[in-house]
């Protein structure tokens, strides 16, 4: 037989095989006598490059610091900019007066009210809502392992709007007082989420297509219910109110609407940061999560409740604002990579800054007419998103 040459060639360490010879009789190695651990040196293996260069990633602490500073500046801008001409000097003086309990002259009351009672809570609420939607977008995307998921696309935001609307227009759950609005939004967000999840679920898990189709269908359903409720209520400005719920608006912001939303967002964000490693495992799949010692079902159930609570609290004060929860997590991952510890440190800050500016633009663009926030998020977001996605080596959704 003329295999002599071939087998001898195979005896030599090949480029792929290192020191390993696959033809060693298994019995010999099986007993484990004197067999050194096989370690293939890196250079022995020809790197078969299929991807591009390593993705560039920004360091998180400086980025988060810069965004925090930008958020402070944005908040001041949010308070200072507006249709009613209040100078920057006055704005800062009123803010200081409000924060420190200082006094103002009687003729300044009107301007002070605009700055302190209208614009300041509104800017703060924009930041809270932006941070909350972004954080929940991150969580929901990891939870269903789908790039297309966010509270809006999946119909959760519009579901929450149904509950919030029922309270505002028909006085449902009146016995709960200030908690009625958030409570109803939370309950209906949870219900909407469960409905989407159960309807999209198959014995083989969640498929992206089913999920998005179900979510979109539910979105239209919930939006229809909201519209119906708005138009059947005996109050003026029905059409504008409907726009507010379906496209989002921060026009109703008062100091009383800030605390519940802020607490819900901070608590939700705290939980997500605490469980960020679990989110990483979940993003790799349920099987992998199980192998890494993460109870995927339990984590997902908890994420359900957290996502519903934060979405409910946010929607109760701002309506269903789209695009932020979808876009900000993506942009963040393009900047810092997919590790949820990094993503969750950056995404809420980015979302907060974004929404403060979106709200400023929505107030000023066609002043004195206010545009729904969702219009501006889409107008700014869509081109930014497409540009970023094309420029960087971003592989989410398949290389």
């Amino acid at each position: 037989m003329d295999c002599e040459g071939i087998t001898r060639a195979l005896d030599r360490p090949g480029p792929f095989l290192g020191t390993y010879s696959p033809y060693v009789r298994s019995g010999a190695t099986a007993r484990g006598e004197g067999v050194p651990p096989v370690a293939i040196p890196a250079q022995a293996t020809v790197p078969r490059t299929t991807g591009g260069p390593p993705p560039r990633r920004l360091p998180v602490p400086p980025l988060a610091g810069a965004l925090a500073a930008a958020l402070l500046v944005s908040l001041v801008c949010g308070v200072g900019l507006g249709a009613a001409g209040v100078t920057w000097g006055e704005t800062l003086r009123y803010m200081r007066a409000g924060l420190t309990g200082g006094s103002i002259a009687p003729d300044e009351v009107a301007a002070y009210t605009i700055v302190w009672e209208l614009r300041f809570p509104r800017a703060l609420l924009a930041a809270v809502v932006g941070a909350g939607l972004s954080a929940i977008g991150v969580a929901v995307q990891a939870m269903v392992r789908n790039a297309l998921a966010d509270p809006f696309v999946l119909g959760i935001s519009s579901g929450a709007a149904v509950g919030a609307n029922a309270v505002l227009l028909f006085g449902a759950l009146g016995s709960l007082g200030v908690w009625a609005l958030s409570g109803a939004a939370f309950a209906s967000a949870l219900a909407a989420m469960l409905l989407v999840y159960l309807a999209a679920r198959t014995p083989h898990g969640l498929t992206p297509l089913r999920l998005v189709l179900t979510g979109s269908a539910m979105y239209y359903g919930f939006s229809a219910i909201t519209t119906l409720m708005v138009f059947s209520a005996e109050r003026g400005e029905s059409a504008r109110s409907a726009m507010m719920w379906l496209l989002g608006s921060l026009g109703g912001a008062t100091w009383s609407s800030v605390p519940i939303a802020a607490c819900a967002v901070l608590a939700g964000l705290g939980y997500l940061l605490w469980t960020a490693r679990g989110l990483n495992a979940l993003a790799m799949g349920d099987e992998t999560a199980a192998a890494l010692g993460v109870d995927a079902d339990r984590l997902r159930r908890r994420l359900f409740v957290v996502a519903a609570a934060v979405t409910g609290a946010v929607v109760a004060v701002s309506g269903a604002i789209g695009f932020v929860g979808l876009m900000v997590p993506h942009v963040t991952r393009m900047l810092v990579g997919a590790d949820h510890r990094r993503v969750l440190a950056v995404a809420p800050l980015l979302g907060a800054v974004l929404l403060v500016w979106v709200d400023i633009v929505s107030r000023l663009l066609l002043a004195p007419v206010e545009l729904p926030v969702g219009v501006i998020t889409a107008l700014i977001g869509v081109p930014c998103f497409v540009l970023l996605m094309r420029r960087r080596g971003y592989v989410f959704g398949g290389a």
Partner: protein, 257 residues
């Protein structure tokens, strides 16, 4: 660490997919699980790495009931490479390996220098040091498997469960992956498709068909033409390898009877 499976049964949606499984893998041994598609290999392994709960029976690691341990404690002893390894998320290879430290870390705890050393060593051990900063979803199949093996090694387990680790790999990558696993010094339980690879790499084979173990023992004793005709429906011819003398199998369709 020894693995003992006794009387194991797994049900999904009321259907009993595997039943009455008894399997033993002694410490440091490479035990192969073979069987046709749909025979219950994956179901059995998923139960072993705890993606599924047993309907009956136990999986014991050195005598401790695995499903009675905490999930994290279990993951410190037993690591797995599940069949699904795709993720849309743009993790780097180093980040994927770092996930192996998860069962050793408290939720909010920081990543320690020791964690980083273990991960770097694990990646170097599989010859993947140069992959660390590469995007995991863009790696080739063989590179992905190496990174996932590194993740399993970073878990510092005593037992490694592999569900068809050579799927979609070219032959050089298949041999490489199996040699890496062999060299790790762990107790290995692996479902394998390629019977010749199973024969040359495993210390013992278990044959599963219709959710039950139908044969077990050393590869030489298990891989008989009769069993292969019975379980896989193929005609098999055993020929000695010209160099090592190991029996190799040549396959053909069964003659129509």
């Amino acid at each position: 660490m020894r693995v003992d499976i006794e009387g194991l049964a797994v049900e999904i949606a009321g259907a009993r997919l595997v039943e009455d499984i008894a399997l033993r893998a002694d410490s440091g041994r490479f035990v192969g699980l073979i069987g046709p598609n749909g025979s219950g290999k994956s179901t059995l392994l998923r139960c072993v790495y705890r993606a599924l709960k047993p309907a009956a029976g136990t999986v014991r690691l050195d005598g401790d009931d695995l499903h009675a341990l905490g999930v994290r404690e279990g993951a410190r002893r037993l690591a797995a490479l599940p069949q699904e390894s795709t993720s849309e998320f743009d993790f780097t290879a180093a980040e994927v390996v770092a996930m192996g430290r998860l069962p050793h870390q408290s939720a909010a705890g920081r990543t320690t220098d020791r964690d980083r050393e273990i991960c770097a060593a694990a990646l170097a051990r599989v010859g993947g040091g140069h992959l660390a900063d590469r995007s995991f979803p863009t790696l080739s199949g063989g590179e992905k498997q190496r990174v996932l093996i590194a993740r399993a090694l970073a878990q510092e387990p005593k037992v490694l469960v592999l569900d068809e680790p050579t799927n979609h790999l070219d032959i050089a990558q298949q041999l490489e992956v199996l040699s890496l696993v062999r060299g790790a010094g762990l107790t290995v339980l692996a479902a394998l498709h390629d019977l010749n690879l199973a024969a040359t790499h495993c210390d013992a084979l278990y044959v599963i068909a219709g959710g039950r173990i139908v044969a077990s023992g050393p590869p030489d004793a298990v891989l008989t033409p009769e069993l292969l005709a019975d379980v896989f429906g193929v005609r098999a011819l055993r020929v000695p390898h010209p160099e090592s003398g190991t029996p190799h199998l040549l396959f053909d369709r069964l003659p129509a009877s």
